[in-house]
């Protein structure tokens, strides 16, 4: 990713766009932060926010016409926040000590400012702070005369104006009161005398309205260095025009571009998206004394109605985005920096590898921020540069290799047939989760499809794709395609939505459809039991997000069988991933667990899943979840299919391996060898150890290998008190340790197991 694509990406996340109030303010005062401070009763903090945006806040805060209010989102839920009245309440509290005025060193340019209305005072102050020698000319007898004339003393007490002016005058080179500014010649003369001239049009006489004399604040048309502004009834716009004029004069005197980088100046629209979905309407807080304005307590209450406009739509629905404490714009920057690191820790590795790649955030985002693409691309980059943490995806990739290997992979024409028009590909996880369902589904398919249906066991390669292992994925894909060609290019029927997505995206030449799609158009198998009475809440797998036809097919099947169901609020296009997607479960198991718990809590109803992994992950956190196939082909082992526990890692392998052997034996009358490496080493795993094996992702096969090596080599540790044994073996990139003892009934009892990746040098 280069700087430019980073910036393009960043701009698509609108969370840092200004709140509507700030965007509508000519001075971009941060009214959201201001309301936040007021609501907290933090008046000094509120003052500071005004000072950051406003020149002369004690004055402007009292007379501001608050154009921000017109765009306040609260207007749609009870009424706009009375920001102007809050400003007045704030500046009536004691002002905290001002920060030391940072005045730049003298720059050697002289500026005359004519008129001490708000725009003139603002221009004079800003230019003085920039280091220019500023002389202020006022036709009246006191500075600020136009303000004192325009506002009554109750709204704007003269003492307040005096104080602000007293703070300003030490910054000025000279002040000229009673200045005669009504003659064009006077202005011309001043123009000759000074390097630049600003006319506060609200404060000086009519001749200055001669448009030949001065220019608007915008252009290089300001050839004579005379600028005018402040000719508006809006006080905040007057101040803003004075500020913009000061910028223009500064740039002119510095001989730099007048316009560059000023596109955002002034009131404008914002792209910030603000949802009012969770906002209760509430009306504005009334004033006990309208003439006096809000009391402090009233102001705090009114500011408390501010909804603190933010987008964060994606963060609200994704625990992953929430967990890393920020939002996609910041994540894009962190991920970019991560790739740029030469030395030191790549702190975004975990961020990159924890994304489910499910695309929910993109679906929710008003600007379609592509978080999944960003994470997947980063993973590929990391793999290409050898910077992918080896442990991140290894377990899943080894499992994929298992599915592709001789213990599971299989391709056969239907029994008694020498070609295939269709091909059933149940995918690796259904076979791992509920192997007993595969044969009946296959047999039903052969009955309802009018041409021979072959069978293929294997893996679509999604784990390699998700891990960013492009080369490996291309290999898997190419092998799959070769086999499919050897089968005669049949139409593929898929039981897994992930497979379907992978085929659609990466093997478009392969005609593929969902099993549910076939079912929706065919005679259905018989329900194993009467339909449940309570509706099942449908959990759509995240990989069906963009295939509504599959979601429809499932609902169609349910309707035909009179199975009552209901929709989850986050369903269909907005469904949530169960934690398997993107290999989150591998890279960040704790977070995956939290995420599936959240999903489980979305409805008290039993869920209906139609992806084996979704079902198992939900079941693993105790959510009663039934797989669509369970309604037709329940497992004999578990009479209550919604309560069927998730088979563990070892069982998932065993299930696949056994399924292959059983299918070969039952359908093709072929005997095949048991390829388990050490079938003769029988293990009894103590219940406490069994749970650890799951969370630590240690397979029974790993334990068998360790014990096999230990018992063969004699390299074993023994505890003199308990007689227990401890041994280790290096399998792949991991050293596995087992604490065990020979069991009385034969074989071994396993008490504990753990692993590490570091290797003891020999």
């Amino acid at each position: 990713m280069d700087q430019q694509s980073l910036r393009d990406l960043e701009s698509r996340c609108i969370q840092e766009e200004p709140a509507p109030c700030r965007a509508a303010c000519p001075l971009h005062v941060d009214a959201r932060a201001f309301c936040g401070r007021v609501a907290a009763g933090d008046w000094p903090g509120a003052w500071q926010v005004l000072r950051r945006g406003m020149p002369l806040p004690a004055i402007l805060g009292r007379i501001c016409d608050a154009p921000c209010q017109a765009s306040c989102k609260r207007d749609e839920a009870g009424g706009t926040i009375r920001i102007g009245a809050l400003e007045r309440a704030c500046v009536q509290t004691p002002a905290p000590a001002p920060p030391r005025t940072m005045r730049l060193p003298a720059r050697g340019g002289s500026v005359a400012v004519c008129g001490s209305g708000l725009s003139g005072l603002t221009a004079a102050r800003d230019l003085a702070l920039k280091g220019y020698a500023v002389e202020l000319f006022e036709p009246g007898t006191v500075l600020g005369a136009p303000l004192l004339e325009a506002f009554d003393a109750r709204r704007l007490p003269p003492a307040v104006v005096d104080d602000e002016i007293a703070a300003l005058t030490p910054l000025l080179k000279a002040v000229h009161l009673g200045a005669r500014l009504s003659q064009t010649e006077t202005i011309e003369e001043l123009g000759h005398h000074f390097d630049a001239l600003y006319l506060d049009l609200a404060a000086v006489g009519t001749p200055t309205r001669d448009r030949h004399l001065w220019a608007d604040d915008e252009s290089s048309a300001m050839t004579r260095g005379i600028l005018g502004g402040g000719d508006t009834p809006s006080p905040v716009l007057q101040a803003a025009q004075g500020r913009w004029a000061a910028t223009t004069i500064d740039r002119r005197l510095q001989k730099v571009s007048i316009t560059a980088g000023r596109e955002g100046e002034g009131a404008g629209p914002t792209r910030l998206f603000v949802s009012l979905a969770q906002i209760e309407p509430s009306p504005p807080v009334a004033m006990a004394d309208a003439a006096a304005g809000y009391t402090a307590a009233e102001a705090v209450a009114e500011a408390g109605r501010c909804i603190q406009c933010q987008c964060l739509e994606c963060v609200k629905v994704c625990a992953y985005l929430e967990r890393f404490g920020s939002y996609p714009r910041q994540y894009a920057r962190q991920i970019y920096n991560n790739a740029a690191i030469v030395m030191g820790a790549r702190q975004a590795n975990r961020l990159i590898n924890s994304c489910r790649l499910c695309g929910l955030c993109t679906e929710i985002c008003p600007e379609d921020f592509p978080m999944a693409d960003l994470c997947l691309q980063s993973r590929r980059d990391m793999v290409a540069r050898g910077k992918m943490p080896p442990s991140a995806h290894e377990f899943a990739l080894l499992d994929m290799q298992f599915s592709l290997g001789e213990r599971f992979a299989l391709a056969r024409h239907a029994p008694g047939s020498n070609h295939s028009v269709h091909l059933f590909f149940p995918g690796c996880q259904l076979c791992a989760s509920a192997p007993a369902q595969v044969a009946p589904v296959y047999s039903h398919l052969r009955r309802v499809l009018d041409a021979p249906v072959g069978l293929m066991l294997g893996c679509c390669g999604a784990p390699a794709h998700w891990a960013g292992r492009e080369a490996l994925y291309q290999e898997v894909r190419a092998d799959w395609r070769l086999q499919w060609e050897a089968m005669g290019r049949p139409e593929v029927v898929l039981a897994c939505a992930t497979c379907l997505e992978m085929f659609r995206d990466h093997l478009p030449e392969v005609p593929a459809r969902s099993l549910w799609h076939v079912w929706a158009q065919s005679p259905l198998p018989e329900l194993a039991a009467p339909p449940p009475e309570a509706p099942l809440a449908i959990h759509d797998p995240c990989t069906t997000r963009h295939t509504p036809a599959v979601q429809d097919a499932v609902r169609h099947v349910l309707n035909r069988c009179h199975i009552p169901f209901e929709e989850l609020e986050l369903g269909r296009r907005r469904t949530e991933c169960c934690g398997y997607g993107g290999l989150m479960q591998n890279a960040n198991p704790q977070l995956a667990q939290e995420i599936v718990r959240r999903r489980a809590a979305r409805s008290p109803s039993d869920y209906l899943a139609y992806c084996a992994v979704c079902r198992d992950n939900l079941a693993a956190v105790g959510k009663r979840t039934i797989h669509l196939l369970d309604l037709f082909f329940p497992s004999g082992e578990h009479p209550d299919p919604a309560g069927r526990p998730r088979p563990g890692w070892s069982r998932r392998r065993e299930n696949r391996q056994r399924l292959r052997r059983d299918l070969l034996a039952d359908l093709w009358r072929e005997r095949s060898p048991d390829l388990t490496p050490h079938p003769d080493i029988h293990l009894h795993v103590a219940p406490a150890a069994a749970q650890r094996l799951e969370t630590r992702r240690i397979l029974i096969e790993d334990l068998q290998e360790v014990i096999h090596q230990a018992e063969t080599s004699g390299q074993v540790l023994e505890h003199p008190d308990t007689g227990r044994l401890r041994a280790s073996a290096r399998i792949g990139h991991v050293t596995f340790w087992v604490e065990y003892a020979p069991a009385e009934e034969g074989g071994y009892t396993v008490f504990n197991a753990y692993s590490h990746r570091m290797e003891v040098a020999r």
Binding site: Q347, G714, L717, E718, H756, E759
Partner: protein, 71 residues
């Protein structure tokens, strides 16, 4: 990185079954991702069989592995 000794008294109670001796703390080299570290670990003084305890494997070692993986 893991120079300090890593053994509880309990770790040193294990015996090498083949050599019939107790383990003793001895400097052992461990490697990961082309990095080498030395640490005092329980080891059979005769045949050199090393014990990596559960605490070490899941604690300090896992931490260092993570750091090296993110480097």
């Amino acid at each position: 990185m893991i120079q300090e000794g890593f053994a509880s008294p309990e770790d040193l109670r294990w015996k090498c079954r083949r050599c019939r001796v107790h383990l003793e703390l001895a400097p052992v080299t461990v490697t990961y991702l082309d990095q080498e570290f030395s640490a005092d670990l329980p080891r059979c003084p005769v045949c050199g069989l090393v014990l990596i305890s559960e605490d070490l494997a899941l604690g300090k070692m896992a931490e260092v592995e993570q750091i090296l993986e993110d480097k």
